[in-house]
Amino acid sequence: MKILVCISHVPDTTSKINFTDDDTKFDTQGVQFVINPNDEFGLTRAMWFKEKQGASIDVINVGNSSSEPTLRKALAIGADKAIRINSEPLDGFFVAKQIAEYVQTNSYDLIIAGRESIDYNGAMVPGLVAGLLKMNYVTNCTKLEIDNGKAKMDREIDGGKETLSCSLPLIIGGQKGLVEESDLRIPNMRGIMQARQKPLEVLEAFEFSSNTNTIKFYKPEPKQAVKLVSADNLDELINLLHKEAKVL
């Protein structure tokens, strides 16, 4: 089985969010970048297929050279080959077009992406790839089994879950549940050494334009200080929620 894992390269969750260039760009100064957590779950599940069922794993990122350490980390975890499509990831549509174009000439049985990137929260790349290539697609995927070319999945739905099945090829948007956090792997020395020998192909981007543009970023207004209510005066809390906040 040939698996492609889409990796988005995102600021670590605890990063301070700041902007530069007149608030048009995310300020990467001092920010630690990581594999998008949803993609890390996916990559770990791909490793399970590789080890238990036999599979090859390619990882792909649309990004500039700053995402190479993230791709190397994916190789150190156990992917076989990395592909970087050399371009700023302009928007989700642009990224999806690049991936779709690549997949058309390099077919895969299974494409694993995340339900969303934790930076721009676009939640669109895998769905767009699926739409462009007319592939089976399941997002919010919390479980994935593959047997004889047939996939069985769980999907989180509002207020519950559902079980789906389909034939391959398939693209999923994965999230926690695909594997547990305790299954995530920290690359060891051997993995890191091996990763240096593994191929990291850099391809030129295809000519596509983006269809959205960020004009400006801004941060929320500084919040007003919390109003503390004494534990002995809960009527006051109810009063505030009713009269001031108007939520009761």
Partner: protein, 320 residues
């Protein structure tokens, strides 16, 4: 050119967020100087939409659509958008609508902007405000394509009542066959889901153990609220995973979020930031949650929560 909004239903009934979607779409259409068409799939009674300005409804009813299928639903929306020459399509931010949105975008070659929190701030180029970085920031995004799919954040716009008379057109579509099938689905019944709730009562490790959750459930009952929890609570199996909120769990955008015995770690806050009013109950005045909250009570949950519940019951009895 018109605005098309796909309004979800559940068991034949319009979902509550449909009224916000209708309100938003009507205001959007006004600013674009055009009309709104609402699309429902397998809804029975759609009359309530007349109270929120919807003058035209296209009702699609087909048994083979009883189970949600992202590709079939996207296909129907795409055809209706084509028939009605809709340039702007408005969707809610339920998991189902977020699932189908990119499929639809690819199909009709539209730009898709989600997490939208208001009407366009500019029409040339079409510009909307969105939340990003899990609500730690906002962006103004402009769109250059002719067709636009807008994913509206829950509870970000509110309701605009306007009674109109509504024309209903019933349509049927052939549903394409797919080898992707839904084999079974489980919904926690009788409970309000986090996605549909106006109020969420959430609790963390401060509750000490699952046996104490009756306090949380009782409070949620009184308020007609959904229950939620922090990540360690679901990791330890005190509560089901479906209740886990935060960056790696569910996002919550309710009117009122009550956090009990939750410290307020950044990953937890990331998921609940867009809730309007946050109340925190914690015995540690230094808990970081107090910095993110609107109202706070410093106190022991085991003392405060039952008393709060009693007082809320009295309040409800007087105000209903």
């Amino acid at each position: 050119m018109s605005v098309l909004t796909y309004i979800e239903s559940s068991n034949g009934k319009i979902k509550k967020n449909g009224f916000e979607l209708a309100s938003y779409s009507c205001e959007l259409a006004k600013s674009l100087n055009t009309d709104v068409v609402a699309l429902t799939i397998n809804a029975e009674d759609v009359n309530e939409l007349s109270s929120y300005g919807i003058k035209k409804i296209i009702k699609v009813n087909n048994e083979s659509l009883n189970k949600f299928s992202a590709s079939s639903f996207a296909d129907i929306i795409s055809k209706v958008a084509d028939n009605t020459s809709s340039s702007h399509i408005v969707l809610c931010s339920s998991l189902d609508s977020k699932y189908l949105a990119p499929l639809l975008a690819a199909d009709i070659n539209a730009a898709y902007v989600n997490n939208v929190i208001g009407l366009p701030t500019n029409l040339e180029p079409f510009t909307v405000k969105r939340s990003a970085f899990t609500n730690k920031a906002f962006s103004d995004s402009s769109v250059s394509s002719e067709k636009i799919i807008i994913g509206l954040s829950n509870n970000s716009f509110g309701l605009v009542e306007s009674s109109v008379s509504t024309e209903i057109e019933e349509l049927d579509f052939e549903v394409q066959n797919s080898n992707l099938t839904v084999d079974s689905s489980e919904k926690v019944s009788g409970q309000i889901s986090i996605a549909d709730a106006d109020i969420v009562v959430s609790a963390g490790r401060g509750m000490k153990g699952p046996e104490n959750w009756n306090l949380i459930e009782d409070l949620a009952d009184t308020l007609g609220a959904a229950t939620a929890c922090s990540k360690p609570v679901s990791d330890m199996g005190w509560r089901p995973h479906s209740e886990h909120v935060g960056q790696t769990g569910k996002p919550v955008a309710t009117n009122l979020y009550i956090a009990i015995g939750i410290s307020g770690a950044i990953q937890h806050l990331a998921g609940i930031n867009s809730s309007k009013i946050k109340v925190v109950i914690n015995n540690d005045p230094e808990a970081p949650f107090f910095k993110a909250a609107d109202y706070g009570v410093v106190g022991d949950a085991f003392d405060v929560v039952p008393r709060l519940n009693e007082k809320l019951k009295e309040f409800k009895a007087q105000n209903s």
